[in-house]
Amino acid sequence: MENNTSRRDFLVNGLLATAAATATGCGNNPFAPEETVALSGEKVKLLSVDGEIIEIDKAFLKPVPHMPPLTNSEERKGIEGKKFVMVIDLARCKNLKKCQEACNHAHSLNPGQNWIKVLSMQEAEESAPFWQPTTCMHCDEPPCVKVCPVDATFKRQDGLVLIDSDRCIGCRFCMAACPYSTRVFNWEEPILEEAVAAQPYSCETSMPQKIGTVSKCDFCPDMARMGELPHCVTSCPNGVFMFGDMNEDSVTNGAETFRFSELIKDKAGYRLMEDLGTKPSVYYLPPVSRNFPYESGLENLSPADKQSH
């Protein structure tokens, strides 16, 4: 007995010591004290644990990731209990393209890459033209997921269709399969800041983008985990985008919140290309009683589209 206990003790203590050593030794532990810090001279005022205001040199501050990193399987599984849905009110859109700006900036997209395209649409010859912001539909029967040969694009339990840029082989079958033309390809090396490029890829932020892989709107699951709305929703001054959870039956554009089922019923919400059977998660409210005339959006057309308009 004595022998067994002492051997067990030795092993347990040894493992603990090794674990402690590696934990403090690795650079990953943000709470381990640094050996040497070059003082910058700049002071920052902080509130200490005791409630006192203290001044610390800025060099001592280290960025701590605001959330723990998720494993690839967790990213592929999704947020439990949610079924994300987007409602886009076409009566409010004026082609400001603030959504596009915010999305492109937040995801460090290259010039020319737009995950949100604000399209000038006209159903029939005699019907009136309108502006239609188009994101990824995050279909419930996604044709892109069906055809991917390596499971680089996948559907999660929270309804989102995401892309694993570490696995994508760049065959572009998903781009051929998507009827909404929503996917964008990295034909050349993405232009990224060093800090962004150095991070490991996360399916939830879709960053950093990699050359030779495909990308698209991801409904900003990283924002959802923090309890915030996607960048397009918050950046639209006209409240065009409403984002929410079908399980909670609510969508919001930040300022107003609606019961999703009632909104769709009252305003006759519909989905794009319903007859294809893709079952998109984006609903559109028809452009009735519009806030702005269609012409007010013409000035904001991209140069290429101005020519062909």
Partner: protein, 421 residues
Amino acid sequence: MIWTYSLILICLIGAFAYYRQLSKGLAVTNMGDYVSWGIYISNFVFFVAISLVGSLITAIFRLSNMKWATPLTRIAEIIAVSAIVFASLIIIIDMGRPDRMLNLFLHGRIQSPIMWDVIVISTYFVISLLLLYLPLLPDLKIMIKFKERSSNILNKLYLFQGSFWRGTAEQFKISERAITILCITIIPVAFSIHTVTSWLFATTYRPGWDSTNFGAYFISGAFLVGAGGVVVAMFVFRKFYKLEKYITEMHFEKMGRIVVMLSLLYLYFNINEYLVPAFKMKSGEEAHLKGLFSGEFALIFWFAILIGMIIPILILVFKKGRKPLPMFIAGIMIVIGAWFKRYLIVTPTLLHPFLPMQDAPAEFHHYFPSWEEWAIAMGTLAGTLLVITFFARIYPIIPIQESITEQDETCMSLPPTKRHE
């Protein structure tokens, strides 16, 4: 010599272009977010189509006891093997991340049509290679026997590949059995490779691709372009290796009739493919069809139809047209028409997406391949021809043993007065 050196030059330019593509990414091509598949993919379809000829002439003809086609089997088989190898190469060239190719095997999804293509093409390659090798064994023995006719290196190669073949009745029995089994299995595999390739398009919603006709349409086109390719090869080998005694006018006559039949069959499928949607003119398909018939693609479309099908039919329907030289011309027309036809299958559809092409760079609104794309595409075509050329210089392009056996059999079946040495 000029032939070989120009092919090597084209391959080298292609290799340089590919080096540029590897360093800068696919941006060196003129593909964009709308035309995300370009001439690499249409070249891929073209290669898979041509490689079906192996199953046609080697397997189908052999199983139907069409013995006159025996001298043509090796030509057909090397075209098949070479084409399917370059089909795989051009697909790898088209990938955005060829460095991640192993993901196809580590994380492969069996639900994806691309996986089906990988499986059936690999299978077809193995069977075709065996159908090239097994009938070659008796010929290797003959080459070894006449070792003074070949260089030392070639003799070593022949010994390495075929010294175990002694030509005993036992070995012939096993070989015949194996070849028959391979011939039977290659037919469904051949049908699979081109059907699955057609499904890369038909499993999408796009106008021009969303067709139930695609499997049969592609296969009939494949047999046609393969037969056309064999006719061209027949003429060239016959002329340059002076094989008039083995590839006779009878062979051209018979192949001519077969090519006419295949052209008519392909024409029939084309009529189905274009006339029926044109009758309905669904709004999604209207822009696409009008673009082909009278719009930006009209020139290529009618060129492909006329040069690839109609004129060859008109040439080959007459007996005078089934002589070697007119058939050679018809064969070239069929192959070139077929290449443009494959281009028409891939690009026009992608330029007519469901939603308008807006909020994208202006270059994405049209597509003409860049010099790198042309260089690489032509490089793979040159590579295919180079493999066939080198093969014909190393191995006998006409199956010697099988021709001898067949001549004997034909001889013995004639009455004694009609037999001759």
